[in-house]
C-alpha cells in the first residue's frame, strides 16, 4: 500500500511539474465551454433580414413591425427592388428577405387571399429552414390577428410545449457533449502519453524489474488521472451552471458515478493505445485523432445521429461517448434516475470491461 502511494505521489508530481500537461488538462475544458457557449451557438438571434415593400399599405407595415419586434430578426434595411435584394445576399450581410407585392392588404381584404415571398440563403440549409419557419409563424400569427372577430367553423389550434428546454437553449445540447469530449480526450491522451513516456525514457524497464507489480503500475497511473478528471468535471459543471445557466435536474451523485465509469473507459482506451506504440508523439496523435473525431461526429451533439446513413448509425454504437451523452442528458436535463438509464450504463460498463481485459492482456504479453 505504501509502495502504491509512493507511486501515485510521483505521478502527481509529473503532472504538476509539466506546465503543458496542466494547461491542456484544465485549459481545454474552459476553452471548450466558452467556445461552444458563446461562439459556436446554433441558436438564432437577431438575424439580419431585408424587406422589400412594394405594397406600402397598412398590412405590410403591420407585418414588418411584427417581424422587427421578434427577437429572431433584425431588419437591416428596406430595399426597393429585387436587384438590391440579390446584392444584399451576395454581400452575405443578410440571411432572409421578405417581399410584399403591390396591393398586399387590398387583396387580402377583398379577395381574402394575398401572397408574401420569403427568400432565404440556403447555403446553410439548417439555418435557412429555421429562419423560414420563424418567418412563417409570424405571418400566420398576423393572419389570426385579422381573424379575431370571425369564427371559422373548424379549427385546430396546435399547443406547443418545448419539454426540458423551454427556452430552446443550445447549451442543453452541447454541454453534455463537451463533457464527453473533454473527458475522453483528456483521459485517453494523459494515460497513453504517461505510460508511453515511461517506455520511451526507459524507466518502464526499471519498474518491471522492481518488485512493484505491473498491474499496480497501471492502477497507480490511472488513479491520478481519475482524480484530475473528476476535478475537471467539477470545473465544467460549475462553468455551465453559473455561466451558461445549465440546469442539473437529476442527482449530482449519479452524474459523477456515471462520469467515473466513462473515465475508466477512457483510461483503459489510453492503456490500449499505449500498448501499441512506443513514442509519446504517436500516442498523442492516435489519441487526438482517434478520440476527437468519432466523439464529435458520433455522439450526436453536433450532428443528429438520426439523420445519418444506417452504417454510420451502427458505427456510432461503439463510441462510448455516445452512451455517456445520452446518460448525461437524461440526468442533467430530464432529471431522470438510474432506472431510466440502466441500459446505457450497462452498455458502457460492458465496453469498459472488454477494453480493460484486452489492454491488460496485451500489457502482460509485452512483459514476456
Amino acid at each position: 500500500m505504501k509502495q502504491f502511494l509512493t507511486f501515485v505521489k510521483k505521478e502527481f508530481r509529473h503532472v504538476f511539474r509539466d506546465r503543458k500537461t496542466l494547461l491542456m488538462l484544465f485549459g481545454l475544458p474552459i476553452v471548450q465551454i466558452v467556445l461552444f457557449g458563446f461562439a459556436l451557438t446554433n441558436e438564432i438571434k437577431n438575424t439580419k433580414i431585408v424587406v422589400c415593400d412594394y405594397a406600402k399599405d397598412i398590412g405590410s407595415q403591420q407585418l414588418i413591425e411584427k417581424l422587427e419586434a421578434s427577437s429572431n430578426f433584425e431588419i437591416e434595411k428596406s430595399v426597393l427592388s429585387r436587384e438590391q435584394i440579390e446584392t444584399a445576399f451576395k454581400e452575405g450581410k443578410i440571411k432572409l428577405a421578405v417581399i410584399f407585392p403591390v396591393n398586399f392588404y387590398n387583396e387580402l381584404i377583398h379577395l381574402n387571399k394575398s401572397q408574401v415571398q420569403i427568400i432565404a440563403d440556403a447555403s446553410d440549409p439548417n439555418t435557412a429552414n429555421t429562419l423560414t419557419n420563424f418567418a412563417t409563424s409570424i405571418i400566420l400569427d398576423y393572419q389570426q390577428q385579422l381573424n379575431v372577430n370571425v369564427t371559422i367553423p373548424y379549427r385546430i389550434q396546435p399547443e406547443m410545449r418545448m419539454l426540458y428546454n423551454p427556452e430552446l437553449k443550445g447549451a442543453t445540447n452541447f454541454v453534455p457533449g463537451v463533457m464527453a469530449l473533454v473527458l475522453m480526450l483528456v483521459c485517453v491522451m494523459m494515460t497513453s502519453v504517461s505510460i508511453v513516456r515511461e517506455k520511451e525514457r526507459g524507466t518502464m524497464e526499471i519498474l518491471l524489474v522492481s518488485p512493484f507489480h505491473p498491474f499496480l503500475v497501471i492502477v497507480s497511473k490511472a488513479v491520478p488521472y481519475l482524480v484530475l478528471s473528476l476535478l475537471n468535471l467539477v470545473i465544467i459543471l460549475v462553468l455551465s451552471v453559473f455561466l451558461l445557466d445549465m440546469p442539473i435536474n437529476g442527482s449530482v451523485f449519479l452524474l459523477f458515478a456515471e462520469s467515473t465509469l466513462l473515465i475508466i473507459t477512457a483510461l483503459s482506451l489510453g492503456l490500449l493505445i499505449s500498448n501499441s506504440t512506443d513514442s509519446q508523439q504517436a500516442a498523442m496523435l492516435i489519441s487526438m485523432m482517434g478520440m476527437m473525431l468519432p466523439t464529435m461526429l458520433f455522439t450526436g451533439f453536433m450532428f443528429p445521429l438520426e439523420n445519418m446513413p444506417i452504417p454510420l448509425q451502427v458505427i456510432s454504437n461503439v463510441v462510448p461517448a455516445k452512451w455517456y451523452y445520452i446518460i448525461v442528458k437524461s440526468i442533467m436535463i430530464k432529471g431522470l434516475g438510474f432506472s431510466a438509464i440502466w441500459k446505457e450504463t450497462l452498455i458502457l460498463f460492458v465496453m469498459t470491461c472488454i477494453l480493460l481485459v484486452i489492454s491488460l492482456k496485451k500489457f502482460k504479453i509485452r512483459l514476456a
Binding site: 505504501k2 509502495q3 502511494l5 509512493t6 507511486f7 505521489k9 510521483k10 508530481r13 509529473h14 511539474r17 509539466d18 525514457r201 526507459g202 524507466t203 524497464e205 526499471i206 519498474l207 518491471l208 524489474v209 522492481s210 518488485p211 512493484f212 512483459l367 514476456a368
Partner: protein, 247 residues
C-alpha cells in the same frame, strides 16, 4: 565455499528462427564483479533481460540469488537491482524525489529511506543539489546517481547494462570506484561493457559471440590463453569470427 548467486544452465532465447542467446551456461559467485562482454548484437542484453526477469527464456534453467527464474520471479525481483542502457531516472523529479520514489517501490521504510538517502547524497557529494531536477545534472552524475539508486535496497546482485556509455574517462573511473565499493559490501556485480579497460577491472569475464559464450575466465588467464597483450586483442581474436552483423 562461496555462495553461487547466479547459476545458469543452457539458457536459450529464440525469436522465431533467430537464436539470440544459445545455451548459455555459467556461474557467478557472491561478491564477484562479473564482466559480460561481446560485440553489439551478440546477445548480451537478451541474456541479461532473461536473468532480470524482463524476458522469459525459451529453454534452459537459471537460479538467481537461489531462486528459480520461472517460478520465483517475485522473490528474484526483491533481491536484484538493475540499471539499463538508457538513463532511467525521472528527469522531471528532483534527486531526492527520485531516491524516495525508487526506495519507496522497493518497500524501504521511512527510517531506512532517510538514512540511505542521506548517506547516498553524502557519498556522491550532492548535498547542495538535492532539490535540483535530475534532468539538470551532467550525464556522469546522472549515471552515478542511477547506480546508487539501483543498489539503494542493498540487493544481492546488481545488473548493469553498459552503465558507462558516453561518459568521460574520469567519471568512468569514479563510477568503477562505486562498483568496487558495492562489491566490497557483498553486492555481486554483473556488468556489460564495450570498454576493454573496464573489462580489466572485472574479477572474471565472459565473451559472447553470436549468442554463444566463447570464453570465460579471469582477464589474466584469458590474455594468457589467447596469447594476447591486452583485453583488446582478446576481444578482436574472438569477435573476428562473428557472423552476425552489429546492429
Amino acid at each position: 565455499m562461496v555462495e553461487t548467486v547466479i547459476q545458469t544452465n543452457k539458457l536459450t532465447k529464440r525469436f522465431g528462427d533467430f537464436i539470440a542467446a544459445n545455451e548459455i551456461t555459467f556461474d557467478v559467485a557472491a561478491g564477484e564483479i562479473f564482466g559480460f562482454l561481446g560485440a553489439n548484437g551478440a546477445g548480451k542484453t537478451t541474456a541479461m533481460r532473461m536473468l532480470c526477469g524482463l524476458s522469459t527464456p525459451s529453454s534452459g534453467t537459471a537460479r538467481i540469488a537461489g531462486f528459480d527464474i520461472y517460478k520465483q520471479a517475485e522473490s528474484i525481483k526483491k533481491n536484484i537491482g538493475y540499471m539499463s542502457q538508457k538513463f532511467s531516472l525521472y528527469e522531471d523529479l528532483t534527486i531526492k524525489e527520485n531516491i524516495q520514489f525508487f526506495g519507496g517501490i522497493y518497500g524501504l521504510c521511512d527510517k531506512q529511506l532517510k538514512e540511505k538517502s542521506e548517506s547516498l547524497i553524502e557519498q556522491l557529494g550532492l548535498k547542495d543539489q538535492t532539490k535540483k531536477l535530475v534532468g539538470e545534472l551532467p550525464l556522469g552524475w546522472k549515471q552515478k546517481l542511477a547506480f546508487s539508486v539501483a543498489i539503494l535496497h542493498t540487493p544481492k546482485i546488481v545488473f548493469l547494462d553498459e552503465p558507462t556509455g558516453g561518459v568521460d574517462p574520469v567519471t568512468r573511473r569514479q563510477f568503477w570506484d562505486l562498483i568496487y565499493d558495492a562489491a566490497a559490501n557483498g553486492i555481486t556485480v554483473f556488468v556489460t561493457t564495450h570498454y576493454m579497460d573496464e573489462a580489466e577491472y572485472c574479477n572474471r569475464i565472459s565473451m559472447m559471440v553470436d549468442g554463444v559464450i566463447k570464453a570465460l575466465d579471469t582477464p589474466a588467464n584469458l590474455k594468457k590463453q589467447f596469447n594476447a597483450a591486452s583485453m583488446d586483442d582478446v576481444f578482436f581474436e574472438l569477435a573476428r569470427g562473428a557472423k552476425r552483423k552489429a546492429d
